[in-house]
Every structure is written in structure tokens, then in C-alpha cells.
Amino acid sequence: MAVFDPYADPSRTLRIALAALLLAAVVATAGAFAADPEAAAPSPVAYDDVVELGLSSETDALMAGSARVPRTQVFYSQLQYVVGYNGVESFAATLDDGRTERQFGYPIAAYVETFDDARPGTTGAGLFESERLGEWTPADEAVYVVGSEARSPAGETVVPFRERGAAEAFVADHGGRVVDWETVRGRSFDTDSAATVRAMAPERWAAADDRIAAAERRADRPVSVVVGEDEPTVEAAVAAAPPNTTVVVPPGTYEETLTVNESVTVAGDDALIRGDGNGSVITVRAPDVAITGVTVDGSGGQTRDPDAAREGREGGGPADGGAWDTNIQLGYGHGDAGIRAIDAPGLVVDDVAVEANASGLLLREGSHAVVRDLRVDGADEWQDGFMGITGMRSRVTVTDSRFEGGRDGIYLHRADGSVVRNSTFTDNRYGAHLMYTGDALLADNAFENELFAGITVMTRPSGNAIVGNDVRNSSAGIQASGTRTYIGYNTLVGNGLGFSTSSRGSLYERNVAANNEVGVRATTVVPSSRVVANDFVGNAEHATAGAGALRIWADGDRGNYWEGANLGTHEPGERAYRPTSPVDGALHRHVAAVAVRESPAVALLDRLRGTVPGARSGSITDPAPAAAPYSPERIDAALAPNAGPVHADWRAEPDERDGSTDENAAMNARDRDATSGGIGRETRRVDAEPTVTSARATTGGAGGA
């Protein structure tokens, strides 16, 4: 290279090159200011690739057939992921909640699914349906039918069309009126406030009280037959007893298998009914049967029936082949059990013990059951046994029961509205395992030594409440996917993972995560939940985060309590805490981290970090970490040596305790009772584990079940 000589006249080429460079720089800079970064609206993407918020698409009502919820996809200015909303109204409701804009920026482009050529209509149940998928149209160019008879599982739904003519044709058939986008976004839509979501738990607790009381009345019947006196076997006694009477089974061992075909109460008194090791011991095929005071063992060891699954696929089952959900229903629903109920609504099981070789209690085909004081002792190795309770399309109400060993303590599949409370689970694979089961309540249960997790909710059901549970010494405490879930007042001690925030549009509050390897894990790629007023103490890591945009975990100026967050020279709560950062995350274990945290470099970087949260990745920040724990008594109780499960007095806590910010606390989801509809047949996607990688697992994925 030539020696730089500033005094020589530069060559012509060099001069031209310099001039060109200068010109290019000037033009580029001018262009940078002249160009409008928002001018180019991105094109719509395949809906399968968006991150879904809004209504759950896996409610029974939607899985049942051709019903659809009109979909929306939105490109936000600060978010790298395309967000899909089920329900135009779900998206419209976010437009004025402020929270979405703070997290994701403003919508650069929004497309709605328009149904001009898709043959739209309504199902018999009034749900919106269309024969074909719609087409994507920019939201502000589409026209909308509001107030028609078409509904979503959550209520009224807005139906978009590209052309006014098509919209008017729909109005002619189904009523309503045609409006433009401005009108739709100006309408106010119900959004769940934190208070609404919080209220789910006490309501369901009360409903369970009613069901249990009704079950008590149902089981209390006059005695008609006494086994041993009137009839030689239990089966004969049951066959002889008139409906609505009680068959008394005196103390002793009865070696038989029986089927109950009448609505009777089988009341044992220290009686053991022992099967012959084949099939189920007691099969119930009549409504309103009660079984009390017996011990059952000697069932067959078949955990599921591969023939049933195969026949279901080949025969009259769904035509779409590998329907994983059907496979499970047929397979899991047809194993052996201590007590098996088929199409037997109103079953009451009270004060019963089962030595289970496969399932303890198996319910299928609408066998809605109330279970109290059931004790299931399962196999020592989970591979050898099956579920304590298997509930298939049967709403179960379980209280004061105990499940030891075996595969899952309670496995519920499309068992909407189930309640499991005040029960104990030890040494299972999963304690409570829900699939396609929404509007359930899991409350005040204790889990210990669970191989995979205490509570797991798979697929994307809506509206579950998981409250006041205590999980310890397990691989994971609570891993619940879905939407609009309430996870509150749980105590998670000494687990591999305390809980994960896999459920979208949900509220996580007042949980205590103590002494876990990881207190909480943020999983969903696009943050849409509120995580507030939880306590994190003594965890090796308070929190980790999977792929996705920055999560801001606070509600206004109320954050979570993180042990160590307020070390240093600032006022408590004044400085944001980032549990996923190497420095902040070490504060509660190594005091030297304080000195690093106070460095100008860290302080500088911390200053503006929350400015464009959607554009940042992979971490969690709490802008207002609490100065003191929210639930100090529960922390003390959890950390006390040899202490039993901690009871959270969540039903006694007043609702207004922190209600000031609840008014604008939209949850991005409003499918109230979305899962209370019909029974379906089709499944699309299984969130095998509530993590990002498997969030895309499709049918045929093992589902971990």
C-alpha cells in the first residue's frame, strides 16, 4: 500500500472515490431520515406459525367440528413474533388496554380472516362456522358483522368480510349489522380482570361443596339386602336389591368381580372385595350408584386396551387418522381398574381403598363422580401401574383422598369442571395430570416426591384454577399450559422447578417458591400473563427464561418478592431486578454481586433496559421488587424442618387487598366458560410439555402421557 502523503495532490481516481464515498454517506444519511421505517407493512404469515393469544382454540366446542373463531394476526412495532388472536374481539380488546402497547409497541399491521368465499354460517348450537378457511385481509379494509346470531364459545363474535356485499348477505341470513374497523375497535369488549379470574376458585369450591352434599344425600338409602344374610355374594346382593336402596357388605373378604346395573348404594363395613386378577373388580353401569366403606384389590394389570384404540381408529372413530386424543380416550379409558364406571353419572365413592394393579378408579363416558376419602395404593414403579383416578369425559369431584405410587395420581381427559381438593399425592409420576380439561379447580392438595411434576396441565384448555397447593421434593411443582389460568397461593418447596408460566393470558400470584433448583421458569415466547406478588426465597436460581421477548413481571408498581433483590445502596423497590441476569441472579447467594451491581457500567445498562421490552429477548425483569415477602408466614412454614404441607388461607383473604389496579387489568383472554360446550372428536395440537420446543408438537406427539 502506498505511503499516506497528505501533501501530494491525490490522484484523480482517489479524488473520485473520496467524492463518491462522501456522496454515498450523505445520501445514505439523508435516506435514513427520509425513509419511513413503518411504511412497508409485512405480509400475512401462515397462521400455524403465529404465537397465539386470545381465546383457546382447543375447547371442546371448537374441537367438535366445523365451528371456528375468526382469527387475527398482528405485527407489533416492538415484537419480533407475529401474534395471532383467536377472535377479532380478543385483539380489539387489547387496543385500549395500554399494557399490550407497553410490551409490544403499536400494531404496524393487522390482518383478519375474512369469510367471503368460505361459506360462513352457524352450527346447530349457534357457533360460527365456515366450510373453508377464510382469507387474510388488512383489518382496516375489512368490514365486520356485529350483533349477529353467530357466537364463539365465549359469547358474541365479530365476523369479518372483505366485501360489503358478502357481509350484507351474511346479515340477511344471520342478523346483525355491518360496521367498519373503526367501529369495531371503538366497541368495548369484556375482558377478564384479575378479580374475575381470581373469583373462579371460590365459586368452584362452593360448587364442589354442593356436589358433595348432594352426593351424601344420594348415597343415604334404606337398607334392602345384607350380603351373607340375604344373598351369598355382593354381585347377587346388588342384583337382588331394588333401586335406591342400600346393599350392606359386612366385614370380611369377598372374592368376586361384579357389575352394578342398578342405582344402589353398596355400603361396606371393613369389607374387602378381591378380584381374580383379570379385568376390573367392580364395574358400574348405572347412574347414581354409591360405593362406600370397602377395600378393593385384585384387579387385572392391563393399563390400557390397544385393541380398543386400534378399533377406534379403523372403525367408527374420527376419519382423520392419528387423532391422538381419540387414541388416548380409547386406550386409556379401557384398562383395568379397581372400580370402573361406564356411562354412570352420579357415582359416589366414599371411604374406599384400592390396592391398584392398574387404575384405582376409572371413569368414562360421562361418569360424573363425587369421590371422598378414596385411598389408592399404586405400583411402586410407575411403569407397572396406572392412574389413581382416570377420568375420561367425566367430571370428577375429589376431596380428602390419598394417592400413592402408580403412574398419575389423577389423570383427567376432557373432564371440564372437575374439582380436586384437600387430597394427598405421593410417589406418582404426575400428581394431577390434566389434558383438554378446562374450568377445573385444583385446590389445597399436597404433593410430595412426584417423579415428573406435582400438577401438570397439557394442551391448551381454558380457565383452570390451581390454588393453595403444596408441592415439594418433586421434579417440578406446577406446569400448567392453557389460557386464562389462575395459579395462586401455591407453595412450592425443594423441587427441581417451582412453577412455569406456560399458561397464556393468565394470573400467577401469591405463590411461594422456596429452596427449589429453579423457582420459576418463563416459557411462553410472547408474554401475556401477569406474574405478581409471588415470593422467591432460597432457590438456587430464582428464575430462568426460555426463548422469547422480555417479560415484565409486575402489575404497575407492585412486583414480586425476590430474596436478595434489594441488597445494595438503593431504596427497596427503587431498582429493577432481573432474576435472569448473572449479577442480579446471584445477589441472594453471593453478597459480592452487590459490588458488581453498583458499578457504573451495570447501572448505565440497567437504566433504559425496559424501554422496548418486546424487542429484547430471553429475560425477566421486575421493575418494582417488593421490600418484604407477601406471605411471610407461609415461607416460615415452608422452610421449617420436618414441617408438613403448608396451608394457604386463600379463601379467607379479602379480594380487595390489592384491587386498585384491577380495573385495567385485561387478561388478553375472555373465554368465560369456553369449555362447557359439547363433546368433540378432533384434535390439532398437543402441548406435550409446556415448553417452547414442544409447543409445536402436533398430533401423534407422545404427549408425555
Binding site: F4, P6, Y7, A28, T29, G31, A32, F33, A35, P37, E38, P42, V45, A46, D49, V50, V51, F75, Y76, S77, Q78, L79, Q80, Y81, V82, E101, G105, Y106, I108, V525, A547, G548, A601, L604, L605, R607, L608, R609, T611, V612, G614, A615, R616, S617, G618, S619, V692, T693, A695, R696
Partner: protein
Amino acid sequence: MTGPLVGVATVFRRELATVVRTPGYAVLAAGLLVAVGGLLAAGGGGATGFVPAVVDLLLPTEALVPLAAVVLGYRALLADGASGELAVIRTYPVRVGEYVAGVLLARTVALVGVVGVPYAAVGVGVWLTAAPDTGIFATHAGIDSPLLYLRFLAFVLLLGAAYVSLAAAVSAVAASRRSAVALGVLALVAGVLGGDLLLLRSLGAGASPASIPGSLALTPNGAFRGLTFEHVIGVAFAPEGGFVSTGRAVGSLVGWTLLGALAAGATLAYGRRVDAAIERVRSGLAD
């Protein structure tokens, strides 16, 4: 080429040679690259896009760029004066204005090299590496664009130019290298902190917050910060803006640059006469 341009060009070339032959400036550029790159690596903003990268860089830049500019400018005019070379140059037909313009132009070009190149390199790095966390879902760039970083770079250079010019003025006033260092640091602190402290004081004394967009633009740092919020970071927010009045802020940065140049020229042109006048007064008083 005739007239004043020849003088400016000659001084410019001589000054450029000085800059190129000062190895410290190359070290300064390398250090800046390490600092800026390190901030992005530690802050994580560069991993996802330009806007979060600018967010991470904004505050450190307010200190680093003025510092680099003062280092480039604090001896620009002093050295020639102290060594007597200025007196020699003055024997040639080069006017003070031409001399100052040439020196400042060369130092500004040096600023482009020392500050602009590291920032541009970091921007290219972000361009090549920034990507969403996961490719499982469909992604898009949002409002993020290299153009926004180019805007930021332009503001960085405007800020730097103002400080180079102000530092040069300081160097014209200084009598020795030591006093040049002291005055340079003083200018740096006054610029980085002083303007905003005055703004705070005036707000505390009852100035209307509605005056902020105007008064923020008056200081170089305030103008830079306002412009970055208005045209880079704020673009990702709902389109409203109003952080600073753009024209006033750009005018302020250019104005500070011209003011520095004028002050330097005036000091060189009339400083000796002022000195002499002061000396006369002093000796008059002494008698």
C-alpha cells in the same frame, strides 16, 4: 483553486498528517470499539435488533463520544502555538480563519475515523448477528431497521463534532498542555452534566415543563438525547413524538460547532492584543 480554500486545504492536509502520525488516536478508536462492543455484548440489546442496541448505547455514548472528541481537540490549536509553529504559519498568507477551519475540518475527519468507524462496525455486527431467539414461530423485524442505526450514527457524529470544536476553542485559550487538559476536562464535565443540571435547576425554579423540548435542545447532550429519542427509539412507540424540537436540536448541535470554531478563531486572532491590553492595564495599575 485559489483564495481561502487553498489555505484551508493546506492546513487541513498538514493537520491530517498530524492525526495520522499520532498512534494514540488509533488506540482510542480501538478502545472505543471494545467499549461499545462490550456494552452491547453485556447488555444484550444487540442480539435482537438496532433499537434495543441504541437503547443500550445511548447513555454510555453521552459520555464516551464527548470524551473521544475532547481527546481529539484539546491540543489541536495549542500545540502549534506553544511550539512556535503558529507564528511561522502566520508569516505565510494564511488567515486565522483559514487556519482554524483547516484544523477543525481535519479533526472532524479524525472524529469520523475514531468514533464513526467503531460505531459503524458495531452496527454492522448487529446487522449480521441480530436474530430472534427462536425460529419456531414466524418473525418479522417490527419497526427495527438499519436506517434507524444510521440516524443514530449521524447524531453521534454531530455530537462529536460539537465537542471537537468546543475542545479546540479551549485549546486555543489554554496556555500550556497541562492547562489544556484541565480546561478540556472542565468542558467535558460542563457539557455532559452541566447543561442538564441547569435544566433541572430551571425546572426546579419554576420553569414550565412545556419548555423542555425547547430548552433540552440548547445543550449538546440534551439535543443529542432528544434527537435519539425522537428519531430512533421513539419510532418504536406509538407515532406521536415530541421529545425535542428537531430543528432546534440540530441547530443547537451545529451552532455549538460554529461557536467553538468562532471562539477559537477569535482567541487566536485577538488573544495577543487582549493579553497586551491586560498587561498595559496591569502595569498602569502597578505604577
